[in-house]
């Protein structure tokens, strides 16, 4: 592919590209995926992150990561990056909160198990 194509097309811009057959796949959202979708809507209503910022945030992950991450995984990583850029949440805060949540989930699993 000529380099001009990379300059003029960002990773999301795939309209007109060759691709395989359409497989009519669907799945029922996992509870966390639905929460992630609701979070996206709420962030949009509250004017914290709008839909277009989210889309650009996904695009900013780059083609490799976009290719590797499923749909809602791309969204949540994009939200983290956008919240860092807007200095609403710092990377340290998120890391600490994730450690806390992970420990809590592990504890709950141990209690349930």
């Amino acid at each position: 592919m000529a380099t001009e194509d990379f300059v003029s097309r960002l990773p999301n811009d795939i309209g007109g590209f060759e691709a395989g057959s359409v497989m009519r796949v669907e799945h029922v959202l996992e509870p966390w995926e639905k929460r992630c979708h609701a979070l996206a809507d709420v962030l949009d209503f509250k004017k914290i992150i709008n839909t277009e910022e989210k889309r650009k945030g996904v695009e900013a992950l780059g083609e490799t990561l976009i290719g590797k991450l499923p749909y809602y995984e791309r969204w949540i990583v994009a939200f983290a990056n956008i919240l860092f850029t807007k200095t609403i949440v710092s990377p340290t805060e998120l890391a600490e909160k994730m450690a806390e949540v992970e420990a809590r989930f592990a504890e709950q699993a141990a209690e349930a198990g």
């Binding site: 795939i14 509250k46 889309r55």
Partner: protein, 222 residues
């Protein structure tokens, strides 16, 4: 890519077998952490998320089907709907929980409409709910705009050569809904009976509405 598990991947790769994991994965931990941080900071409320989940659950293709059935049976309503899709839906009490405009595209003997979002997954969610995975995956997004007839054929839909196919590419703020053609043999049907044969895929434009559709609808809901 059909298989026992699909999570909206745009690509082919093998992954670890799904385990009945006791502990949520990395991205669920991230989602929970971000949500809780925003709640702690007072930027969102836990109730906002719960309420929005209820809203998402309340939006299914049955909402869009009511709009279509009403348009088929009330020509004045259809005119208003085609002039302003959002206002037409709001007239029926359908709220738009997002900041989007809706353009309703009427299929006729001369024109067949198809909707897509080449950039991502924009979709008329207030009237159809959340999009199916295939709508969000590369093959449909990439090819719907360049070879719509071939894509339609993969859905078993063959459009006569003398019928124009119009593909509308959605954006973050402008969404589309296809008003399918009313099938022959439905004269005198009630709005509810008509709504029951209107499927999600017909409102995306990948299949027509047929009088045999209720079975398909049940299968898709399962």
């Amino acid at each position: 890519m059909a298989g026992p598990h699909n999570h909206g991947h745009d690509h082919d790769h093998s992954h670890d077998p799904i385990e009945m994991a006791d502990v949520p994965g990395y991205y669920e931990v991230m989602e929970t952490a971000i949500r809780e941080l925003l709640i702690d900071k007072g930027l969102i409320a836990a109730n906002d998320i719960r309420r929005q989940i209820d809203v998402l659950d309340s939006r299914t293709p049955a909402v869009g089907a009511q709009v279509v059935a009403r348009a088929w049976t009330d020509s004045a309503f259809k005119e208003r709907l085609l002039a302003d899709g959002r206002a037409g839906c709001e007239e029926l009490g359908i709220t738009f929980y997002d900041d989007t405009q809706l353009i309703v595209l009427e299929n006729t003997e001369q024109v067949h409409n198809l909707i897509v979002c080449t950039l991502c997954s924009c979709y008329p969610r207030p009237v159809l709910g959340l999009p199916p995975d295939w709508y969000k995956l590369k093959p449909y997004r990439a090819r719907a705009v360049s070879e719509p007839r071939k894509v339609l054929a993969e859905f078993g839909t063959v459009i006569r050569d003398d019928v124009e196919i119009r593909v509308s590419d959605s954006t973050a703020v402008v969404r589309y809904l296809v008003l399918p053609r009313r099938p022959a043999g439905t004269e005198g049907w009630s709005v509810d009976a008509l709504a029951a044969i209107v499927t999600r895929d017909a409102m995306i434009g990948v299949i027509p509405v047929t009088v045999e559709s209720p079975l398909t609808l049940e299968n898709e809901a399962a």
